[in-house]
């Protein structure tokens, strides 16, 4: 179970998260300058992009945890993989909701089938499929095994999806940090938002992981009680 010292750490993390989220909201809505052509609309950027980054990090973590589970066969890696997949799906849901809201006024369409949009959608579908597999296997050992294999397949698929659509025209701006296109005045707000979302990512991961460990512990105790009876 979760030792008390970790619970204190979570309290501290939760407090930090609250403060940084308020700061991020302030910076995104009031601190950052208005964008010249898009106006206030561009402020979605401060939530859209960090969510995408954290979502990708979560899916990467799911891949690593899946590989480690197959090597070590330790249930804790399965719990980590599950937590990462769920948190990643949440972040990508934010990306896929804020994206069309931003795209409609900026590009005059809700959706285009460009590489970045399509691969984000496919990535989201892949991890929903991962959750489907988990929900349809009863036996915990086998569930962990099946989902770990699918987690590896899904993560390897993502770049191929992206590159196979790449040669179509891409309307989506390439990442600002690569091209250095983000105005220096906007950078503080952007970095604070990334920091706040990173804290959110870590916090949710920890909570979900401990919840899953507790659930497994309860399952184990139930089985022991059944065996005694």
């Amino acid at each position: 179970m979760q030792p008390p010292k970790y619970r204190h750490l979570d309290t501290v993390l939760g407090g930090l998260l609250l403060v940084s989220m308020i700061l991020a909201l302030y910076m995104a809505f009031l601190g950052a300058p208005r964008e010249r052509t898009m106006g206030d609309l561009q402020r979605i950027f401060y939530f859209h992009v960090p969510s995408g980054m954290m979502g990708l990090a979560a899916f990467g973590l799911n891949f690593v945890a899946s590989v480690l589970f197959l090597i070590r066969k330790d249930r804790k890696w399965d719990s980590l993989a599950l937590s990462a997949a769920e948190v990643g799906i949440m972040f990508f849901t934010i990306v896929l909701v804020t994206g069309p809201i931003w795209a409609k006024p900026a590009w005059f369409v809700w959706w285009t089938w460009s590489p970045r949009l399509t691969s984000s959608l496919v990535l989201w579908l892949l991890y929903l499929a991962y959750m489907l597999i988990r929900s349809y296997v009863y036996d915990p050992e086998r569930r962990a095994m099946m989902s770990a294999v699918f987690g590896i397949v899904a993560f390897l698929d993502a770049p191929i999806v992206f590159f196979s659509i790449r040669w179509w025209r891409d309307q989506h701006p390439s990442p600002m940090l690569e091209t250095g296109g983000l105005s220096p005045a906007m950078r503080p707000a952007f970095y604070i938002c990334i920091g706040a979302f990173l804290l959110l990512f870590v916090y949710l991961m920890r909570r979900r992981y401990f919840l899953e460990s507790a659930r497994q512990e309860a399952e184990r105790l139930e089985r022991m009680a059944d065996a005694v009876r």
């Binding site: 197959l70 496919v122 579908l125 597999i133 296997v137 294999v149 397949v153 698929d157 590159f163 196979s164």
Partner: protein, 223 residues
Amino acid sequence: MPGKVWAVFRKDLLIELRTKDSLNAMLFFGIVVLVIFNFALEGARDSIRAAVPGVLWVSFVFSGTLGLNRMFSTEKENSCLQGLLLVPMDRGILYLGKMLAAAVFMLVAEAVIFIFSMVFFNLTVWKEIPYLILVFLIGTLGFTSVGTILSAISANTRMREVLLPLILFPVVLPILINAVEATGIILNTNDYGALRLPLTIMSAFTIVFGTVSYLLFDFVLED
């Protein structure tokens, strides 16, 4: 190793030749999909040529999924899978044999569906055939390379047949995109040089997922 792969492959082929369960279902379903698309695309009658590659591959993939679903459910009857797992060989060999057998069934179904589609959509092809065979071959190998392992995964779940398309279609999207593009290039242009890119991506997909599935197949088979 090729001998063992051949043995598994031959076993699946023999079963299919004697029962013809999968192949009949695959052919029938593929043709029904073509008929449905004919009516679904009623409004686009004038530009039907542009839609044919997409229609063809949707039909291939749907009928292929039927075949993949049968692959492990037949093994479950009479505990055939247990017997197969007792054979002292690497599980990856089982994967290769089954993958190749699934690809052969799909290719047979594709050939028939293709002939029907040429009739239904009023197309004439002769000199394009070698290029089409190449695209169908690589596309099918890519589809079955990942389809075989996902079929084994879905056979382990409560939902079995229902789950396979749900987990397979998002994964095979790169194959579908590139196969449709490549088929479109062959049927609607004469620029065969443009085939290199989609064929390269499909081959890369096949090699990556063939290798990964070969290595991971042991984990998805129940002992």
